[in-house]
């Protein structure tokens, strides 16, 4: 339990969801006429932050629309929280928060009125909506500007207002579509920190749809990569960025020492990255000791020998180019418990 000082009320950090999957898609196919936007996608999103990555037209928006009940899948089932698969879309949307990518606000209204209004449209009684509107606007840092018309807000303030609107009805699942759009560096950092805290401290399931890979790396535990309507990679971020071969960053002194031939003589794959700098690849189980021995044999000393991980960008590009499904770890977008594996998106 973690204490929340403002109102002296305690809140369970896990919000009772534990490790349960909060969003489960099984064989979902979405068609627009003859065009297949999403093909046989099976994904699970557990509590925590997960990313939905993909190029334009990959099917991210279609998937979000389907999850919001705005588009009916032609095949497959979707389950959000404990709601039945055939639940009324209005009831689904009342349990889900959504922050659209586009700049959006209710015209003529102040920040407070907009957030309260959207809370009431989500099924909140008026009094609760008003109370929560104040609270979430404080949470996102708009407490001083809440009575100003939203039309006078800056781009960053509007992003915060949209986030407040997504949270006003206290949804367990929140879909965020490009939440850092239009934010300055400080605003972006704040937004990402808040999103991270929503996932870790309040146990919300956050599904982040974005193109910005740095945002994903900063916030998400799990990743689902879509390409041409199919899941081409999914799993924990740590697992996806780990390579079958281990890659190391090696710096030696003196730079002119013949380290390269010594490594080649050992059969170690390497690449010269600069003066006295090398990138070295070792097999999964291979020891590092021979590298040190080779450097020593060439008359140099090791200044730096550090493991490198694949960047998410490499993972993403590799996945979308290969278009072959990659499922890593628990095969769900986040830290799913063992045994809950779902097959790749084929």
């Amino acid at each position: 339990m973690c204490g929340f000082g403002g109102f002296g009320i305690e809140l369970s950090a896990a919000t009772g969801q534990g490790g349960r999957m909060t969003v489960v898609l099984d064989g979902v196919t979405i068609r627009y006429g003859d065009r297949v936007a999403v093909a046989d996608v099976s994904v699970t999103f557990p509590p925590g932050a997960s990313a939905l990555l993909g190029r334009n037209g990959a099917g991210k928006s279609s998937l979000l629309k389907a999850l919001l009940g705005l588009v009916r899948p032609s095949a497959g089932t979707m389950r959000i929280l404990d709601l039945p698969t055939d639940a009324d879309p209005r009831d689904v949307r009342a349990q889900v928060g959504y922050m659209p990518e586009r700049d959006a606000h209710l015209p003529l209204l102040s920040g407070f009125e907009m957030v309260a209004q959207l809370g009431m449209l989500s099924g909140m009684p008026r009094r609760d909506a008003w109370r929560r509107a104040h609270e979430v606007l404080y949470l996102v840092g708009l407490e001083e500007q809440r009575y100003r018309p939203v039309s006078t807000y800056s781009a960053g303030m509007r992003q915060k207002a949209k986030l407040a609107a997504a949270l006003v009805h206290d949804p367990q699942v929140v879909f965020l579509d490009e939440p850092t759009n239009g934010l300055d560096p400080q605003g972006r950092e704040d937004m990402l920190r808040l999103v991270r805290q929503l996932a870790t401290e309040l146990g919300k399931s956050i599904v982040l749809s974005t193109h910005i890979l740095q945002d994903v790396e900063a916030v998400c535990d799990g990743v689902v990569v879509l390409e041409a309507g199919r899941v081409v990679a999914q799993g924990r971020l740590r697992e996806l960025t780990r390579t079958a071969e281990r890659r190391f960053w090696l710096r030696v002194e003196p730079a002119e020492a013949a380290v390269g031939p010594a490594l080649a003589a050992l059969g170690v794959r390497h690449e010269v990255s600069g003066e006295g700098r090398y990138t070295v690849w070792l097999a999964e189980a291979a020891p590092c000791q021979p590298v040190f021995a080779a450097v020593q044999a060439s008359g140099a000393v090791v200044l730096e020998f550090a493991p490198q991980r694949r960047s998410l960008e490499e993972v993403f590009l590799g996945a979308v180019r290969a278009e072959a499904p990659v499922a890593v770890g628990a095969a769900s977008a986040g830290a799913a418990p063992a045994g809950s594996a779902v097959g790749g998106g084929r």
Binding site: C2, G3, F4, G5, G6, F7, I9, L11, T15, S61, K65, L68, L70, V71, D88, R90, D91, R93, A94, P100, E101, R102, D103, A104, H105, L106, P107, L108, L109, Q117, L118, M120, L121, S122, G123, M124, P125, R126, D128, R132, E135, Y138, L139, V140, G141, E143, S151, K160, K162, A165, H169, D170, D190, M191, R193, L194, Q197, L198, E201, L202
Partner: protein, 297 residues
């Protein structure tokens, strides 16, 4: 941004039934004319014709004394012209349906609020925020319609009703009340019906337009343009009734007069057909423009 953990607590509420969720949206739309000083000024301006009629009633019933000559003049005029006689339905219907000042009032009132209702939401991408909540597009349209109709009816229905109450209270005896009560219901229903038709037409145009100003221009063009075209058609075809059938404004007047029981020589059928056809056409256009795929990126 504020550190987390200071102002967040779980929401603990029972969900409001789905059919009641559109009510706050209707309320917001109803209040649109009153959200700015300009809007309030426009609304007050639209009430001027009703205030003038109230003043006439006050002179007629001696509440304001400008002398016997003035009172006699008002009584004489009211006997000569039905639209100035508070004992006849024309007094209430023509307050709204008379081309002057009814048409400018309608343009002002709908132009300042109703015409922008959906166009404003489209321009600010509010549709994406609204439709991803617990409300359906139909609920959204219903809310906007009811809210807009409510604000329009303050002038087109509530003002005549207030005049009727004032006349009944100021009259010397119960005669005014007993003689006007039988037609009051049909008068109010006629005004409500026509207001609903105009609101629906205006909302359809608002849904089809890409900006509030475009919606206002389209609505004014429809009102004034159809009247102009109807006049031309009536002149060319030598059929005076075409004015009352092919003009949105006059067709509405024809409908209201028939329902209210006001004597008119123009047939109802063509006017009703014109309004129904137009409503169907614009309604289809609006429905196409309000598809979920377009509103939600």
């Amino acid at each position: 941004m504020t550190p987390l953990g200071l102002r967040y607590r779980r929401a603990d509420h029972a969900l409001v039934p789905a059919w009641r969720r559109w009510w706050p949206l209707a309320r917001q739309e109803f209040l649109v004319p009153f959200r700015s000083k300009v809007g309030i000024a426009v609304f007050c301006l639209c009430l001027v014709p009703a205030v003038v009629r109230l003043f006439v009633l006050m002179i007629r019933y001696g509440m304001v004394d400008f002398g016997a000559a003035a009172r006699g003049d008002v009584i004489g005029r009211s006997q000569a012209w039905a639209q100035w006689d508070s004992g006849r339905p024309e007094f209430y219907v023509e307050l709204v349906m008379g081309t002057w000042p009814g048409l400018p009032v309608l343009i002002l009132l709908t132009g300042s609020a109703t015409a922008g209702a959906i166009a404003r939401d489209r321009r600010t991408n509010a549709l994406e925020l609204l439709w991803t909540r617990g409300i359906t597009p139909f609920g959204y349209l219903l809310a906007r319609f009811c809210g807009s109709l409510g604000s329009l009816c303050l002038v087109t229905v509530a003002a005549p009703l207030a005049l009727w109450v004032a006349a009944a209270l100021m009259a010397d005896d119960w005669q005014q009340l007993t003689s006007t009560l039988p037609f009051l219901g049909s008068v109010l229903f006629a005004l409500l019906l026509v207001s609903a038709v105009w609101t629906a037409l205006c909302l359809c145009l608002s849904a089809m337009a890409s900006s509030p100003s475009q919606a206002i221009v389209l609505w004014c063009l429809l009102l004034v343009g159809s009247t102009a075209l109807a006049n031309i058609a009536a002149g060319v075809l030598r059929e005076p009734n075409l004015r009352a059938w092919l003009s949105v404004w006059d067709a509405g007047g024809t409908l209201a007069r028939h329902v209210a029981g006001v004597s008119t020589r123009v047939a109802l059928g063509p006017a009703l057909g014109f309004l129904s056809g137009l409503l169907l056409l614009l309604g289809l256009g609006a429905w196409r423009r309000l598809r979920v795929g377009e509103a939600v990126a």
